[in-house]
Symmetry: C2
Subunit: 141 residues, 2 copies
């Protein structure tokens, strides 16, 4: 395998391991996966938003959100409810259990971020973030 291919492989591996570890830690602490925690963080500040709004905020397809919310709802973390006059619209609300889970996830995620950054200088972290952002802006969705 050449160096060229390994570059992409490295990013994939690093991302995968980070998410797998965070998944495990969040699942243990709050019964929530990393992908699900993203929805919780958004709902903490936009409780009651529409599925479509969550879709745009998390940069996920509407159908992915349907499944994500299904799984959160079956765990009692959120609930769907229709409140607006627009009969197409469905709002998502954090339950009390959901709010508690979100707070636990936040603690775990912060600890995890510190662990990831350990041993790296502020400057290195800055360069790393800058390149990630360049990649993201260079390859729009």
């Amino acid at each position: 395998m050449e160096r060229d291919e390994r570059f992409i492989f490295l990013i994939g591996q690093a991302q995968h391991r980070l998410f797998t570890r965070l998944d495990q830690a969040l699942m243990k602490a709050a019964g929530i996966t990393a992908a699900q925690s993203g929805a919780l963080y958004y709902l903490m500040e936009h409780d009651g938003c529409l599925l479509s709004e969550l879709s745009r905020a998390l940069l996920l397809d509407k159908s992915a959100i349907t499944g994500l919310v299904d799984r959160l709802e079956s765990k009692g973390i959120v609930e769907r409810c229709r409140t607006s006059s627009d009969r197409r619209a469905i709002n998502i609300r954090l339950t009390e259990a959901g709010k508690a889970a979100a707070r636990k996830c936040l603690v775990v995620t912060k600890e995890f971020n510190n662990a990831v950054k350990e041993g790296l200088s502020e400057q290195e972290i800055g360069t790393f973030s800058m390149i990630l952002q360049k990649i993201i802006s260079r390859f729009p969705r």
Copy 2:
């Protein structure tokens, strides 16, 4: 959303966009996805290897390899065959179409890597790779 959470989010987004783009380019050029191309690259140098060997090389679960090889086999890119005396073992062989596809993928992947690195200095790329490798070694599978 705080800075802490965005760090993980950034890595996920960057990885996702890179793989989506590479997926599209490889699919157009050779009818192959990025994940499948990884198997092809390994097979170019280890043609006829076992499923289990591919599993270890790509750092994927055996069941993931079963599905991956199923999809490649249905496209006529590889074929399963039993050759060794161990009756559990199944070898994977690139077909002629598979070898042609692998060569096309290699060209596309190299071009793609150059596009990703464009506008970044050698030093920045070095720091970026170093951090990815640190993350990978800090979080073993």
